[in-house]
C-alpha cells in the first residue's frame, strides 16, 4: 500500500519535474516545456491514475476555458500598452512617476510593491503584473527587473486582492468563521508583506539596495502589512489589499519627500531622457479610465444588472477508475461582460485611442501597428499557457495534485506546518490562481490540522498565504510578466530569478506557521 502510494506520488511529480527541468535546466522555450509536461500529465493520468479519454477531454476543455480567461487579459493589456507606447504617452508617464518619487529604489518599491498591490486589490487576475511591469520599463528599469520585481512585489496582496475573492473562497471551502479567518490570514501575511519589500529592493540593486532602503522598507511594510491585517480583521476584507496598497503608496511618497533614502542618479531609459510632449493627464487617461471602470463595475446595482451577461461552459461530474470524483461545474471560468478585466481594458484602450487620435498624438496606422505587435508578442504566450493550464487541470481532475499534497502531509508529520504553505504554492503554481489553490487545498489543510491537533484557523491562513506568494512563480503569471516587458521566450530567466525569493519568503511563512501552531498559539482552534 505504502509502495503504491509512493509510486503514485512519484508519477504525479513527473509532469511538474519535466516542466521545471525543461524551463530551468534544459532551457527549452515555454511552449515546448509546457507541451512536454502536458503530454506527460495525460499519459500518467491514463496509465497510473485511472483516467479515461472522456474525463481527459473534459479536463482539457476546462483547461482551455481557463486559458481563454487568462489569455484575454494578456492580449488586451499588451494591446493597451502597445497603444500607449505608440502614442508617446510613455514619456509623460515616466516623467510624472520620476517627479513624484525621484529615487530609483523608491520608484521600484512604489511601482512593484505598493501600486501593484493596490491594483491587485481592485482587479487581480494578473492585471497588476500586466500593467505595472511595462510601466516600470517605461520609467527606466530593465525588463528583467521590471518583470521579476512586479511578480515578487505584488504577491503579498493576492489573498485580500480582487475584492478578497481568495479569502471568501477559503472561508467557503473550510467553513471557518470569517472574522477569525481574516485575523489569522492578515497575521500570516504580515511578514511576507515586509519581506517582499526587501526582495524587491534586492532584485533592484542587491544587498546594497536592501541596506540603503531598509528604514523605508520597514516603514512602508509596516503600513501595508498592518493595514492588511487590521482592515480585514475589522470586518472589511474586500478592501484589505486596496487600502494596504494605498497606505504603502502614501508612505512611499512621504518617505521620498522626507529624504529618508539618499537620492542617486540612474541611467534613464531612452524614452525618459527626452522631454515629454504629452500632458500627464492625457498620458494617464487609459489608466484613469481603467480604474474608474473597475470601481464602477463593483457597484452592487451594476453588478446585479450585468451579472448574468457571461459566458462559461458547464461540466458534468466525472470520476476516475480509482474512485477520485470531481464535482460538476456550472459556468466554469465564466467570462463576464463587465466582471472580466479584458472588456474594461479594451474600453480603456478605445478611450485612449480616441483621445490620442483627436489630439494628434497617435499617427494614422498607430492602432493597426499596436495590434500587429500585440499579435506577435502574444502567440507564443498563449500556446504556453494553454499547454500548462491543460496540464494542471488534467493533474487536478485525475487526482494527481491531491496525491502530491497527501504525500507531502504524510511524509512530514509534526513538521507539516513548515511545508503547509508550499502546498498553497503548489496549488497556485498549477492553476495560476490563489483562489483555485484555496479551492484545491483549503479543506485538505484544515483536515490535516484536525488530524495533527493544531489550529485550523492558522493552517487555513497559511494555505492562502502560500497560494498568494506562489503567484510570483506561477507559469501563467510569469508568462504575463515576461510578455508585457518584451521577454517573450525568456520566461525561464524570469522564473529562475523569481523562484529563490518566493521559496525564501514561503519558508519563513512555514517557520512562523510551525511556531504559531505548536509554540505560540497551540490553543487556538
Amino acid at each position: 500500500m505504502l509502495s503504491s502510494s509512493l509510486v503514485m506520488f512519484a508519477c504525479a511529480v513527473l509532469p511538474l519535474a519535466l516542466l521545471l527541468l525543461g524551463l530551468l535546466r534544459l532551457r527549452w522555450s515555454a511552449p515546448k516545456a509546457g507541451a512536454v509536461a502536458w503530454l506527460s500529465a495525460m499519459l500518467v493520468a491514463l496509465l497510473v491514475f485511472g483516467s479515461n479519454p472522456v474525463s481527459l477531454a473534459l479536463s482539457n476543455a476546462k483547461g482551455m476555458s481557463l486559458t481563454l480567461f487568462v489569455a484575454l487579459i494578456i492580449w488586451s493589456s499588451v494591446f493597451l500598452y502597445n497603444l500607449v507606447e505608440n502614442s508617446g504617452a510613455v514619456k509623460a508617464i515616466s516623467a510624472r512617476v520620476t517627479s513624484l518619487v525621484k529615487e530609483p529604489l523608491l520608484q521600484c518599491l512604489l511601482l512593484a510593491w505598493c501600486v501593484s498591490g493596490f491594483i491587485q486589490g481592485i482587479a487581480g487576475f494578473g492585471v497588476p503584473v500586466a500593467i505595472v511591469a511595462p510601466l516600470m520599463l517605461v520609467v527606466g528599469f530593465s525588463p528583467i527587473t521590471a518583470a521579476v520585481a512586479t511578480l515578487v512585489g505584488h504577491a503579498w496582496s493576492i489573498s485580500f486582492g480582487s475584492m478578497a475573492a481568495s479569502f471568501y473562497t477559503l472561508t467557503l471551502v473550510t467553513r471557518l468563521p470569517g472574522n477569525e479567518a481574516a485575523f489569522w490570514m492578515g497575521a500570516m501575511l504580515f511578514a511576507p508583506t515586509l519581506l517582499s519589500g526587501f526582495a524587491v529592493a534586492h532584485i533592484y540593486g542587491g544587498l546594497d539596495a536592501v541596506k540603503k532602503g531598509a528604514p523605508a522598507i520597514l516603514l512602508i511594510g509596516i503600513a501595508m502589512g498592518g493595514t492588511q491585517w487590521l482592515v480585514p480583521a475589522l470586518g472589511a476584507p474586500q478592501v484589505g489589499a486596496i487600502l494596504a496598497g494605498l497606505a504603502g503608496t502614501i508612505v512611499t511618497v512621504l518617505v521620498s519627500r522626507l529624504g529618508l533614502v539618499k537620492e542617486e542618479a540612474r541611467e534613464q531609459a531612452k524614452g525618459t531622457q527626452q522631454t515629454a510632449q504629452m500632458g500627464e493627464k492625457l498620458a494617464f487617461l487609459p489608466y484613469y479610465v481603467l480604474v474608474t471602470l473597475t470601481l464602477f463595475v463593483q457597484i452592487p446595482f451594476v453588478k446585479s444588472v450585468t451579472g448574468h451577461l457571461k459566458f462559461g461552459l458547464s461540466f458534468p461530474q466525472m470520476a476516475t477508475s480509482l474512485g477520485y470524483v470531481v464535482s460538476a461545474e456550472r459556468a466554469y471560468a465564466a467570462i463576464g461582460l463587465l466582471s472580466h478585466p479584458a472588456p474594461l481594458i479594451l474600453l480603456s484602450a478605445f478611450a485612449a485611442f480616441l483621445a490620442y487620435r483627436i489630439t494628434g498624438n497617435l499617427r494614422p496606422g498607430g492602432l493597426a501597428s499596436a495590434a500587429a505587435i500585440t499579435y506577435k508578442q502574444c502567440v507564443p504566450t498563449t500556446v504556453s499557457i494553454a499547454s500548462m493550464v491543460m496540464m494542471a487541470l488534467v493533474m487536478n481532475d485525475s487526482g494527481m495534485t491531491s496525491s502530491l499534497a497527501q504525500g507531502v502531509a504524510s511524509a512530514t508529520g509534526r513538521l507539516f506546518p513548515l511545508f503547509s504553505p508550499f502546498i498553497g504554492v503548489l496549488g497556485c503554481f498549477m492553476t495560476g490562481s490563489n483562489t483555485n489553490s484555496n479551492v484545491l487545498f483549503g479543506a485538505f489543510q484544515v483536515e490535516t490540522a484536525v488530524t495533527l491537533g493544531i489550529s485550523t484557523r492558522i493552517m487555513a491562513a497559511v494555505q492562502s498565504a502560500g497560494g498568494s506568494l506562489g503567484s510570483a512563480i506561477a507559469p501563467a503569471k510569469v508568462l504575463i510578466g515576461s510578455t508585457t516587458v518584451g521577454l517573450s521566450g525568456k520566461e525561464n530567466s524570469v522564473m529562475k530569478k523569481a523562484i529563490p525569493y518566493c521559496v525564501a519568503i514561503v519558508a519563513v511563512v512555514g517557520a512562523i506557521a510551525w511556531l504559531s501552531a505548536y509554540v505560540l498559539f497551540p490553543k487556538v482552534l
Partner: protein
C-alpha cells in the same frame, strides 16, 4: 531554425489549440466514443508541432 518557420509553427499550434477547444468539450460530453478520440487529434498535433519546432 529559421525565425519564420518557428513563427509559422507557433501560429499553427495556436490555430490547432483553438480548434481543439470545442472538440474537447463536445467529445467530453458526447456519448459517441469516436468523438472522444477525435477530440484529441488537433491538440496532439499542436503538441507534436510545438515540441518539434518551437
Amino acid at each position: 531554425m529559421a525565425k519564420r518557420t518557428k513563427s509559422f509553427c507557433l501560429n499553427m499550434s495556436l490555430a490547432l489549440i483553438l480548434l481543439a477547444y470545442p472538440l474537447f468539450y463536445v467529445g467530453g460530453i458526447s456519448p459517441d466514443s469516436r468523438l472522444h478520440l477525435l477530440a484529441f487529434a488537433p491538440a496532439l498535433l499542436a503538441c507534436a508541432i510545438t515540441i518539434r519546432f518551437c
